[in-house]
Symmetry: C2
């Protein structure tokens, strides 16, 4: 068992997603991030699910900021970048968010500690 | 292959969750609903993931309304009821939402067609 596991979802705050749209994108990122982590660290996913699936939703202000952070985090953990299918609200193919984890909290916090909550 | 698969998340609109809080609860419901469906219908989950994970976030106006719908839907499919851990914004143990699916769209729509999008 590692100390504390957390999933982090980073969303773009600059594209005007409504509450329901944002929630659906975050859920998409959450499921996709789990699917990536479970390949190499199935024990983390199991532990995290048994402990209540702690997750946090943070924001950035541009696609560029999102992608720079995504590339940095990907050097340590696989992460899931989400593009909207574009049925509603925003243009098809727009990058909306990415998800990473569950991963050890102290490792991911190094990348995300300066970001604000949505 | 069944025709079209969809996940539905029903959230309470009466407890004043902010965007980030709501998104985290919806993600929790999404992951938990998949974990329930995959036991009996793994082929639905596989198909749904390969087709873009269509999901919809709908609202009700009270805990009672949420629970009545949850019990009805549970007669057909396993569904995942989410209680908040209460670290932020709302009282610990508050029922916030539930998720069901992925399931065939025409079957779940019978239960949810009168509800509005978040």
């Amino acid at each position: 068992m590692v100390e504390n596991l957390k999933q982090v979802i980073i969303v773009r705050n600059d594209i005007g997603m409504g509450k329901g749209k944002l929630a659906a994108q975050v859920a998409h990122a959450s499921v996709s991030a789990i699917d990536k982590i479970v390949i190499d660290w199935p024990e983390w996913v199991e532990q995290w699910k048994s402990e209540g699936m702690e997750k946090i939703v943070l924001k950035v202000n541009s696609e560029k900021e999102l992608l720079i952070l995504f590339e940095k985090i990907k050097t340590m953990f696989p992460a899931a970048l989400i593009k909207d299918a574009g049925h509603t609200q925003i243009k098809s193919g727009t990058i909306t968010c990415f998800g990473v984890g569950p991963v050890p909290e102290h490792l991911i916090d190094e990348f995300t500690k300066k970001l604000k909550l949505v």
